[in-house]
């Protein structure tokens, strides 16, 4: 059974990871270089994936 405290902590983590992904994506638009695409795709994508995945796992752990 997941406690309320742990739930909040994991939810905050998931939201923070997605926010980090969005910040990386935002930053990549102000850098006009092929590397910006890589940063967006790899770094931003990893943050997005980690955030969304941890949130979905949290939902599963909590039982919907």
């Amino acid at each position: 059974m997941i406690t309320e405290k742990a739930l909040e902590r994991r939810l905050r983590l998931a939201a923070s990871l997605v926010m980090a992904g969005l910040v990386v994506e935002l930053g990549s638009f102000f850098w006009h270089h092929p590397t910006a695409f890589i940063v967006f795709f790899v770094v931003g994508g990893l943050f997005f994936a980690a955030g969304i995945l941890s949130y979905l796992l949290l939902i599963l752990a909590k039982g919907g």
Binding site: A15, M19, G21, L22, V23, P34
Partner: protein
């Protein structure tokens, strides 16, 4: 528009980071699902599309040092230079001139071209840049015919109709547009310094 979407997504996420207890109620849980999953996925896909469009520009392609001379070759003042003629006479969109000729006109051609681009970035930073840059495979007539096929200048060309079966051979890529001695002058980057440019360069 996209930047506004990302900023909006960040603003919407802020309350969840500050007060995760919002999700105790059903409405809060729906809100969390929308701002953690739906909005970021939408922003990510829109961002991918934006980066794909940016990566088609000449400015993007020539932003790496190794490609600078290829970009400059578009300004050679000589109509025998195929890329320069296409660029200067607006036969390809100037903004996306590199991509217009170097994508594959197939179902997933744009994505294949971008995957090759990712490999180029890898080589730029991690690998070894070859002294002479060459295409992975011989240039396919398909890319020329995407625009030229059916054009009067192409169909009625005396050279293209000079012998029976020549048009079929061009269509089947058996006779190369670039490699058969017909339109063979492309990016002559090693000879650029001695060539006149259009518009004229200020020295």
């Amino acid at each position: 528009m996209l930047i506004a979407l990302i900023v909006a997504a960040l603003v919407l996420l802020a309350p969840l980071v500050a007060r995760p207890s919002l999700t105790i109620r059903r409405a809060g849980r729906v809100f969390a699902f929308v701002v953690i999953v739906i909005v970021p996925v939408g922003a990510g896909l829109a961002g991918l599309n934006e980066h794909m469009e940016r990566s088609k520009t000449v400015a993007f392609c020539t932003s790496c040092h190794v490609m600078e001379r290829y970009g400059r070759s578009l300004q050679v003042d000589d109509v025998d230079h195929v890329p320069a003629k296409h660029f200067q006479y607006n036969r390809v969109p100037r903004e996306t001139a590199c991509f217009a000729c170097h994508t594959d006109y197939t179902l997933y051609g744009d994505y294949n071209a971008k995957l090759r681009g990712l490999r180029h970035v890898w080589v730029q930073y991690i690998g070894h840049i070859p002294s002479k840059i060459a295409l992975y495979t011989p240039y396919n007539n398909r890319e020329c015919l995407h625009c030229h096929d059916g054009a009067r200048s192409f169909v009625e060309s005396v050279t293209h109709r000079s012998e029976p079966g020549r048009m079929d051979a061009i269509h089947a890529n058996r006779v190369s547009c670039l490699g058969s001695g017909c339109h063979q002058v492309v990016h002559t980057v090693d000879k650029l310094d001695g060539l006149a440019m259009w518009p004229k360069e200020n020295k």
